[in-house]
C-alpha cells in the first residue's frame, strides 16, 4: 500500500495510519540527510572555484588519464589484501602457537611491521632488497610491501577472530576424535572467517587509500598519474583533487557492498 491511498484525515484503521506516518517521517529524514550531503559538496566546489582551482579544461584533458590508474589501484589492492589475509592467518596461528620459536617469529613480525612506517617499508622492499640480490619490479614490490604491512595489522584481527569462536566448538570437534589440524580447518577457521569478514572489509577500504603510497616507486596508479599529469604544468592541486575524488568514490562503492555483505551475514542462517 502506498501512502497516497491513506486518507489524509485518518479514517483508516489506526495501525495503518501509524505505519503511514512512520513512512513519511522516514522519507523526510532521508531527504534531509541527502540535502546535507548536497550542500556540503556544493560548498566544497564553491570554495574550490572561488580559489581558482577548478580548471575545466585541465579536468577534461587529464581525467581519462588519471582514471586509467583506477585499474592499477584495484589490482594492487586486491592482490595485497589476498596476500595480507594469507600472512595474517599464518601470523595469527603463530601468535596462538605454544611453540616459542613460531610464536616469537610471529610476534617479531607484527612488532616490526607495526613499529615502522609503511612508506619506509615500501622503500625497503623496492630499494633495499636488491642489495641482498632480490630485485623486484615495482608492481610485485608494492604488493609485497602492502601485504606485509596489512598482514601484520590483520594478524591481530585474525587472532581475535579465532579466539572469539566458542571453546565448546573445539571441544565438540575433539570429542569426535578429530585431529587438531582438522578441528582448525573445518570447525574453527570457517567460523573465525565469518567473524573477521567485516574487519577485512575495513582494512580493504583503508588499503585503497594507502595504496597511493606505492606511487613513490613509480607504480602508475591513481596518485602517480595525478602527479605526472599535474606537475609539469603546475596544476598539481586540480590533479590531486581529481585523484582524491576517485579514491573517495572507490571507498563509497566498497562501503556500499561491505554494508550489504555485513547485513547478509548478520541475517544468514549461519549465525
Amino acid at each position: 500500500m502506498t501512502s497516497a491511498e491513506i486518507p489524509a484525515s485518518g479514517s483508516g484503521p489506526i495501525v495503518e495510519r501509524i505505519a503511514a506516518a512512520r513512512r513519511t517521517a522516514r522519507r523526510l529524514w532521508r531527504l534531509e540527510f541527502a540535502l546535507v550531503w548536497l550542500a556540503l559538496v556544493l560548498g566544497i566546489v564553491w570554495v574550490l572555484a572561488a580559489t581558482g582551482n577548478v580548471d575545466l579544461e585541465f579536468v577534461q584533458t587529464w581525467t581519462p588519464f588519471i582514471l586509467g590508474g583506477v585499474g592499477f589501484t584495484l589490482l594492487v589492492c586486491v592482490s595485497s589484501i589476498i596476500g595480507a589475509v594469507v600472512l595474517a592467518l599464518l601470523g595469527a596461528l603463530g601468535r596462538l602457537s605454544a611453540n616459542p620459536l613460531i610464536n616469537g617469529l610471529a610476534s617479531f613480525y607484527v612488532s616490526l611491521v607495526r613499529g615502522t612506517p609503511l612508506l619506509v617499508q615500501i622503500y625497503f622492499v623496492y630499494y633495499g632488497l636488491p642489495q641482498v640480490g632480490i630485485i623486484l619490479d615495482a608492481l610485485p614490490a608494492g604488493i609485497l610491501a602492502l601485504s606485509f604491512n596489512y598482514g601484520a595489522y590483520m594478524t591481530e584481527i585474525f587472532r581475535a577472530g579465532i579466539q572469539a569462536v566458542p571453546r565448546g566448538q573445539q571441544e565438540a570437534a575433539e570429542a569426535l576424535g578429530m585431529p587438531s589440524r582438522l578441528v582448525f580447518r573445518r570447525v574453527i577457521l570457517p567460523q573465525a572467517f565469518r567473524i573477521v569478514i567485516p574487519a577485512i572489509g575495513n582494512e580493504f577500504i583503508a588499503m585503497i587509500k594507502d595504496s597511493s603510497l606505492v606511487s613513490i616507486i613509480g607504480l602508475q596508479e591513481i596518485l602517480w598519474r595525478a602527479g605526472t599529469a599535474g606537475r609539469p604544468i603546475l596544476k598539481t592541486i586540480p590533479a590531486f583533487l581529481i585523484a582524491a575524488l576517485f579514491y573517495w568514490v572507490l571507498t563509497i562503492i566498497f562501503s556500499f557492498f561491505q554494508e550489504r555483505l555485513e547485513r547478509r551475514l548478520a541475517r544468514s542462517d549461519v549465525r
Binding site: A98, P166, G168, Q169, E171, A172, A173, E174, A175, L176, G177, M178, P179, S180, L182, R186, V187, P190, Q191, R194, D269, V270, R271
Partner: protein, 271 residues
C-alpha cells in the same frame, strides 16, 4: 572379564556384558583445588550409569576426564581396549595425543550447550567426523546420518542449520552426531539443563529409548525421574569422590549414605 575389573556392588543386571570403560584412581587438581579425589568406575556393555550430586561436586570434571577433554592429574582411562594415562605433558606429547584421539573415537559426547557446528546443516554435523575421521564415503556417511536423525525424530530437519532449530531439536541432533561415530559408550553432561522445561521431555525420551535399546551410557543428570526409569546404576558424587552407588531403587529410594540422603532430601524438596 579380566582380573582387574572392579567388584560390582550387588548383582549385575542380566542384560549387561563385559566391561567397556574402565577409569582408575582419577584425580584432578585445578591449581590447588582438589576437585576429583580418586574416582574409580567400570561400565559394562549395555549399561546405563547415571551420575548425580550437587553442583560443584566434580561430576562434569569427571565426565570430561573420561575422554580427556580435561586432562586428569592422576589415573587412567581405558575404553574398548585403548588406554590413556594421565600425562603431565598433556597435549605436548604426540604419542599421548594420538592415544587420546583413538580413545575418543569410542566415546561419543553430548554437551549441556549442544555445541553443534553452526556453519553446517544437521546432516553436515552428522557426516563431518564419520567422513573425515572414520573415512566413510559420503553415501555411507549420509545413510548413517539419516538413520540416526530419524532415530532422534528429526529426519525432516536434515538440511536445516542449527540456528533454525529449537533447543530440544539441537540437542537431539547433537545426540545423532555422537551416534554417527558408532561409539562404544556415550557420555552425556546434563543434556537437558540448558533447555526450556517444555523441551526437556523430547530429549529424555530419546535417551531413554537409547538406554532400553542397550546403548552403553554415562549420564550426568539432575532428572531423578529419568534416572529412576532409565538407569541400571546410579552414582552419587560429593566433593570429588563416589559416596554411594547401586541400582536406582536402592540409591534413590533407600540411600545408605547420610550425604546421599541429605542431597536427595534437599533436592526433592526443591523439585
Amino acid at each position: 572379564m579380566t582380573g582387574n575389573d572392579l567388584q560390582p556392588a550387588g548383582s549385575l543386571p542380566p542384560h549387561v556384558g563385559d566391561v567397556v570403560l574402565r577409569a582408575r584412581e582419577i584425580e584432578k587438581y585445578f591449581g590447588h583445588n582438589h576437585v576429583l579425589r580418586g574416582v574409580n568406575l567400570d561400565v559394562r556393555q549395555r549399561e546405563a550409569v547415571m551420575i548425580i550430586g550437587r553442583s560443584g561436586s566434580g561430576k562434569t570434571t569427571f565426565l570430561r576426564c573420561l575422554n580427556f577433554l580435561e586432562e586428569p592429574t592422576v589415573g587412567w582411562v581405558e575404553i574398548d581396549g585403548v588406554r590413556a594415562d594421565a600425562n603431565p605433558l598433556g597435549a605436548r606429547d604426540r604419542g599421548h595425543r594420538e592415544r587420546v584421539r583413538r580413545l575418543r573415537l569410542n566415546a561419543g559426547m553430548v554437551f549441556q550447550e549442544f555445541n553443534l557446528f553452526p556453519h553446517m546443516t544437521a546432516l553436515g554435523n552428522c557426516t563431518e567426523a564419520p567422513m573425515r575421521v572414520r573415512g566413510l564415503d559420503r553415501r555411507r556417511a549420509e545413510e548413517l546420518a539419516d538413520r540416526f536423525l530419524a532415530k532422534v525424530g528429526l529426519a525432516d530437519k536434515r538440511n536445516e542449520y542449527p540456528s533454525r532449530l529449537s533447543g530440544g531439536q539441537k540437542q537431539r541432533v547433537a545426540i545423532a552426531r555422537a551416534l554417527c561415530m558408532e561409539p562404544r559408550v556415550l557420555l552425556f553432561d546434563e543434556p537437558t539443563s540448558a533447555l526450556d522445561p517444555e523441551l526437556i521431555g523430547e530429549v529424555l525420551q530419546v535417551m531413554e529409548e537409547l538406554a532400553h535399546e542397550g546403548a552403553t551410557m554415562i549420564v550426568v543428570t539432575h532428572e531423578m525421574h529419568f534416572a529412576r526409569e532409565a538407569a541400571d546404576r546410579v552414582i552419587f558424587m560429593e566433593e570429588g569422590i563416589v559416596c554411594e552407588e547401586g541400582p536406582p531403587e536402592q540409591v534413590l529410594n533407600a540411600p545408605e549414605d547420610e550425604r546421599t540422603r541429605r542431597f536427595l532430601r534437599r533436592f526433592l524438596n526443591v523439585e
